[in-house]
Amino acid sequence: MPDPALTDAQLIARALVAQDQHAFAELVKRHQSSVRACLRKLTAGNHALADDLAQETFVLAWRKLAAFRQEARFSTWLYRIATNCWLADARKRREELLGDRVDAVASEDDETVPHVDDTHADHARGSSLKVDLERALAALPAAERAAIVQCYHNDLTHEEAAYVLGCPVGTVKTHVLRGKQRLKAALAAYAP
């Protein structure tokens, strides 16, 4: 078994040179939690689908490991594959594609994100706020949801998010800004 103290780069080299599946297994153990959590956010809390996509992500990572050029962190590269898997699955499910709505978003009515009923404002701001945030995130267009998940939940810079999403940095910023506008509209009842 590989030494857990080995760096990601050393494990990748072992997996590549010796086709060492134990080294790759150590990489999976290290990154499975963050990749699955990312996909759970992207799939709006569908844990079974997220785990299926996470498995697909790591199998693809194994197949494409020789193409990993270390131009990004390994975790960022995994997020990129995971996001592509999610988009491919969404495509199959006839959901909207990343970037499809870049031009259309500006003209769209904010009503696409359901507003939280004002009567809920009186509820405790703990669990209900969390549930409403999950719902509001799930209702966002795919591109905006993906941008917010990468920038906030995966703690990536805009540049890293652009690498993951395969779009320009400016587009990421636009998606984050518009996504937050929709979230504010949906969660207006919780505004101070």
């Binding site: 086709q19 790759f24 999976v28 959590a37 199998v59 194994w62 703690d155 101070p192």
Partner: protein, 121 residues
């Protein structure tokens, strides 16, 4: 938990930023137990990593260079082997079925050697 290139000027008064940051912090603090996930991934892995596309031409070129290098380095040995082989063949009684068998055998051996050299995992 702000995107890093915005941390220099975060909007501290933005309640949604704070809300997203808190949600992100909670997500990151929650470690998802493996629960057999890694084992399932390993079971789904193909046998070997995909080999790069340049491998076959490189293998062929290396074999060609090795044979050419041997021929250049030891011309007398190779010529002697060829002459001896010719002498042996010439001294044998030749029949059409025997000749066809010998050619077939050589083709099979060459094909097998080439297939082994260029095999994909």
């Amino acid at each position: 938990m702000m995107p890093s290139d915005r941390t220099s000027s975060p909007d501290r008064s933005d309640w949604l930023d704070a809300l997203l940051a808190a949600d992100a912090a909670e997500t990151q603090a929650t470690y998802l137990a493996d629960d057999g996930f890694t084992a399932r991934v390993l079971a789904a892995l193909p046998g070997a990593l995909a080999r790069p596309g340049w491998r076959k031409p490189a293998v062929v070129a290396l074999w060609g260079a090795a044979v050419a290098g041997l021929a250049v380095a030891t011309p007398d040995t190779l010529l002697g082997a060829v002459r001896e082989g010719y002498r042996l063949v010439a001294s044998m009684p030749v029949s059409l079925p025997g000749l066809a068998g010998a050619v077939g055998e050589k083709l099979i051996l060459t094909g097998a050697a080439a297939a082994y050299t260029l095999r994909d995992e």
